[in-house]
């Protein structure tokens, strides 16, 4: 055994020996050891060891620890520092090109780093304003069902929250939230649209939203109470106290204003304009205005359960109760149970990827990827610095030699060069802040929903983090050259012919160049491949008509009234109502029971009027489309897709016609089978689908339009909309644009990869340019001699560029290999209908980079090769 129990921890014993002053060591260590052996007898070995460790750490005080070597050897440190700064400035201004390359490279690289610093800075602030943030958790649910893959969701049945408050000890309060409160709030003649949630009376006990008027304990107790945010109240009725006023909401009744709350802070993971008391949910459900979810154990999308643990309590109790409930509550169905889990409030944003988020979501994976990518680019800029600094050692070696002979220590030389690097990075950070200011709005606007996390404003404290970041980068970039320079032996440095020997084993420089170029090639390949996937997606035949179709959101209006109005417009050749925009992926699911196997499973579902199929040009393969529903008709007919009949074991679509399946317990006859079409994203394979005319789930009107006058038609549609809904503006979109938006993330990837590739490539080329300049300058005499003996210009260019070209070829192979692995096996693997990574994309990427690199190298070697040999050999 390395560490017998009755001996103090050896690591700490040795640590103490290391840092304690010699003259005090015997006394103090003796005392500690004696104390330790006494403690072993009195308190037992474990406690004694723990005390010993604590005692050692507390010995870290100026009166005990050794003085640093040399610390009193140089009295005037400020003078030296001033000298370092001065020399640094002189050498920077003497080598303008190198300074330019370094500062530009670092500035470009760091601006990407700053973006990430900013993003992290914003992301970690989420939900920090809640007083009890450490004790607030929410319940997440992951249903497990045979034959259907559920994702873990942020929502949980509200009835679970009710039970939890009653049954689980150690919980201070449970706050239930029901999402999707919306409507036009009306007061006298004023009206305003508001979004919000239903929240119960524990809401303010759990969360720390700032209720400015009203009683936090009772404001949400009575049914039909509403709390408005300051902004909403101000917009509804400027300069008037709305407390105690009654607002009416069409179809939802009258609500008493019982409180005014400050707007939810930017860094709250969910936001609202208004809060309605949770006790209103029950009456609204009874009136069929809300779907019955509050008592439904199978609701995994509308309700949320947050709870506040008592002080000092752990989650163990809660978790074991949740595990039990996940089985007990679903005991009637042997093919179904739920894994309930808990998630800490502060881990929601940034947090894991969940379905049905209540508000902002920000999975950590993009953050990690972005962070890694930014780090690669910043490191690439650091490499440049390292590379060029070491390359210049030839010129600086004499200076260092003299310094050393006059009496500099290694540490001092090290400090000098570190200071120089930090200076360069601090200069660079000023430029990079400018670049950052320019690219930040672009970044925010090109990545959807990132504006929920990242704020446009730059708080001043951020600049402090930027400066710290710059110093950190300076240290990384500077440590290697500083080590290198401080190692130089003065005698060697001062002997003129020895200078070349300094570089004898500097393969690291070549490795750095290869790394840089591999990174650039990787990004360029990624850009071209993702662009190819985007083109492929756009051209992909999704199996339905995409042109000349307009979709209009219903905003809760009656679709039949709207269709009646729209039918008057001659340019509209067909109209249908449906529950989703086809191909956009936002479909719903329903519980379906197979009468033969008696299996219950969730199935994708679209609600559509019969004209939907013709309008979208979806072929009916067998049977016929259901008849339009008349008033009073029961919902009893549905269509399915071919995949459905295949999935349920029917060989031919004909066979399934007339079969009865149970949807949410209701018997439905299959009247027809349609061909498979991509109703979800192209990333998903086509799964079984049912279609029926369920009137209360309609969300969109689909219109097929004819004729050239689109603007005129749109105006007519708008006036038809106004006849039905005066308050809201219509939202009309072309289907093909919506489909483009649905695949827009690919375009974003292209932009991001392209942007990063460009940055990485420009940094790499800057570095290469610097190396080429250096190479040409140090070999001036060689070139002169070669030329004098008869070498041609093209010959010389070959000689000078050879080593670089081979380096770039090597990095081309490495970058292409990594690009293939990452893109083909990781990124594209997520997409069902996809392209492959071909040689062509790799070739394009390499061609771009090779051209750039070639220009950088040849421009310099060309200049060197053209020079008159007389000039370079004159002094020999």
């Amino acid at each position: 055994m390395k560490n017998p129990v009755n001996l103090p921890p050896s690591l700490y014993r040795k640590l103490f020996q290391k840092f304690c002053r010699k003259e005090l060591y015997y006394e103090l260590q003796g005392d500690l050891l004696e104390e330790f052996s006494l403690n072993v007898e009195e308190l037992g070995p474990t406690k004694a060891r723990w005390i010993y460790k604590k005692e050692v750490l507390k010995m870290l005080r100026p009166s005990v620890i050794k003085k640093f070597k040399n610390s009193n050897k140089y009295y005037n440190n400020t003078a030296m520092f001033r000298n370092y700064t001065k020399v640094a400035f002189r050498s920077l201004s003497k080598n303008k090109l190198f300074t330019f390359i370094n500062v530009t490279g670092l500035a470009i690289g760091m601006s990407v780093g700053l973006l990430i610093v900013n993003l992290v800075f914003d992301a970690v602030q989420f939900d920090q304003f809640h007083e009890n943030k450490e004790r607030i958790h929410r319940v997440t649910s992951k249903p497990v069902q045979v034959g259907f893959r559920w994702n873990e969701g942020a929502a949980a049945p509200n009835i679970l929250g009710e039970k939890m408050a009653e049954e689980v000890p150690g919980i201070e309060a449970v706050a239930k939230i029901r999402r999707w409160f919306f409507g036009n709030l009306k007061l006298n003649d004023n009206s305003i649209y508001a979004n919000g949630v239903y929240a119960d009376e524990n809401f303010f006990k759990v969360f720390s939203f700032d209720l400015q008027q009203g009683n936090p304990a009772t404001a949400l107790t009575n049914p039909f109470s509403i709390i408005l945010t300051e902004t909403l109240a101000e917009k509804l009725m400027p300069e008037e106290n709305l407390m105690g006023k009654v607002l009416s909401i069409p179809e939802r009744g009258e609500y008493l204003v019982t409180g005014i709350v400050a707007d939810p802070p930017k860094h709250s993971h969910f936001k609202f304009d208004a809060l309605v008391s949770y006790s209103s949910v029950k009456p609204l459900e009874e009136q069929n205005i809300l779907a019955e979810a509050s008592t439904n154990w199978r609701d995994f999308s509308a309700g949320y359960v947050y709870f506040l643990l008592e002080k000092g309590q752990t989650l163990d109790n809660v978790q074991s109760w949740l595990n039990r409930m996940g089985q007990e509550a679903y005991a009637d169905d042997e093919n179904f149970f739920v894994n309930f889990d808990t998630q800490k409030l502060t881990q929601i944003v940034p947090g894991k990827n969940l379905n049905n988020q209540l508000g902002t979501e920000f999975p950590p994976l993009p953050l990690i990827i972005l962070g890694a990518v930014a780090m690669m680019i910043v490191l690439s800029a650091c490499f440049n610095y390292t590379n060029l600094s070491i390359a210049r050692a030839l010129r600086r070696s004499k200076e260092i030699g003299v310094r050393k002979i006059v009496g500099s220590s290694r540490r001092q030389i090290f400090n000098q060069f570190t200071i120089e690097t930090v200076m360069v990075t601090v200069i660079a950070v000023f430029f990079s802040v400018f670049i950052f200011m320019v690219i930040k709005p672009l970044f925010i606007s090109s990545i959807p929903r990132i504006d929920q996390v990242m704020q446009i404003e730059n708080p001043p404290v951020l600049m402090v983090y930027f400066l710290l970041f710059a110093i950190f980068i300076g240290l990384i970039a500077g440590v290697f050259p500083a080590l290198f320079f401080s190692k130089i032996k003065p005698l060697l440095a001062l002997r003129s012919n020895a200078s070349m020997k300094l570089f004898s084993h500097l393969n690291i420089r070549k490795v750095l160049i290869v790394v840089q170029f591999s990174i650039s090639i990787f990004f360029l390949i990624a850009m071209t491949v993702v662009l190819k996937q985007y083109r492929f997606t756009m051209a992909f035949d999704m199996g339905f008509q995409q042109e000349n179709i307009l979709n209009m959101s219903l905003f809760g209006n009656d679709h039949e009234r709207l269709i009646n109005e729209l039918e008057k417009i001659p340019e509209i050749s067909a109209i249908s109502a449906s529950s989703m925009v086809v191909g956009s992926g936002s479909n719903r699911t329903l519980m379906l029971r197979n009468p033969v196997t008696n299996d219950s499973l969730f199935t994708n579902f679209i609600s559509a009027t019969p004209s939907y199929f013709d309008l979208h040009d979806i072929d009916v393969i067998a049977g016929s489309i259901y008849e339009p529903r008349q008033i009073g008709d029961n919902l009893s007919k549905m269509m399915v897709n071919v995949e459905f009949s295949r999935f349920h074991g029917y060989d031919s679509p004909q066979d399934i016609l007339g079969e009865i399946f149970y949807v949410q317990g209701r018997p439905m006859t299959i009247t027809g089978v349609i061909e498979d079409f991509n109703y979800q994203y192209i990333e998903e394979p086509i799964r079984s689908l049912i279609l029926m005319e369920s009137t209360n789930t309609m969300g969109f009107i689909n219109m097929s339009i004819q004729g050239g006058d689109i603007v005129g038609t749109l105006e007519k549609i708008e006036s038809a909309w106004k006849a039905v809904d005066e308050e809201n503006d219509p939202s009309i979109k072309f289907l093909d644009t919506q489909l483009e938006e649905a695949s827009g993330f690919l375009l974003i990837f292209t932009r991001v990869f392209g942007f990063l590739g460009l940055i990485a490539a420009s940094i790499a080329c800057l570095g290469l340019l610097g190396m080429a300049v250096f190479n040409a300058e140090t070999r001036v005499k060689e070139i002169g001699i070669r030329k004098a003996v008869g070498a041609s210009v093209s010959n010389l260019i070959m000689v000078l560029s050879k080593s670089f070209i081979s380096l770039i070829l090597i990095s081309g192979v490495i970058g292409a290999f990594i690009g293939y692995l990452v893109l083909d096996k990781l990124i594209l693997a997520e997409i069902h209908y996809r392209v492959g990574v071909g040689l062509f994309e790799m070739f394009i990427a390499m061609l771009i980079l090779f051209t750039l690199a070639f220009i950088a190298v040849v421009s310099q070697t060309w200049r060197a090769a053209k020079r008159n040999p007389v000039e370079s050999l004159r002094y020999e």
């Binding site: 005090l24 006394e27 260590q29 005392d31 006494l38």
Partner: protein, 112 residues
């Protein structure tokens, strides 16, 4: 006056050294303070106090014997110098004076 001003902790350490008489060294001082004042101090903090007072000449020290528990490392014993005793007396006098000046009634606890 200024040079001999004692901190509260220093005063306790000085008094403890005097109480321990011949046997005042790191461990014994630390344990005595722990048992009398129920005050857990680290050896490091004690060292700082001791070395400061030794610099001021309030205490002196000499190297003592070693034993097995100490891993063969010698103890260092401490003793209060005359200057230290004078500083303690000064501190006590000031306190006594103040105590005497406090009106008797104020010394009862108030239970308002």
């Amino acid at each position: 006056m200024k040079g001999t001003h004692l901190g509260e902790f220093q005063e306790i350490v000085l008094l403890t050294i005097m109480v321990l008489n011949e046997n005042a060294y790191g461990v014994s001082i630390k344990r005595e303070i722990k048992s009398r004042a129920d005050r857990a101090i680290s050896r490091g903090a004690l060292h700082t106090a001791l070395s400061r007072m030794e610099d001021k000449g309030l205490i002196k020290s000499w190297q003592g014997e070693a034993n097995k528990e100490r891993g063969g490392m010698p103890k260092r014993y401490y003793e209060v110098t005359n200057k230290g005793i004078a500083a303690l007396k000064d501190a006590k006098d000031i306190r006594d004076q103040l105590w005497n000046e406090v009106p008797k009634l104020r010394l009862q606890h108030n239970y308002a």
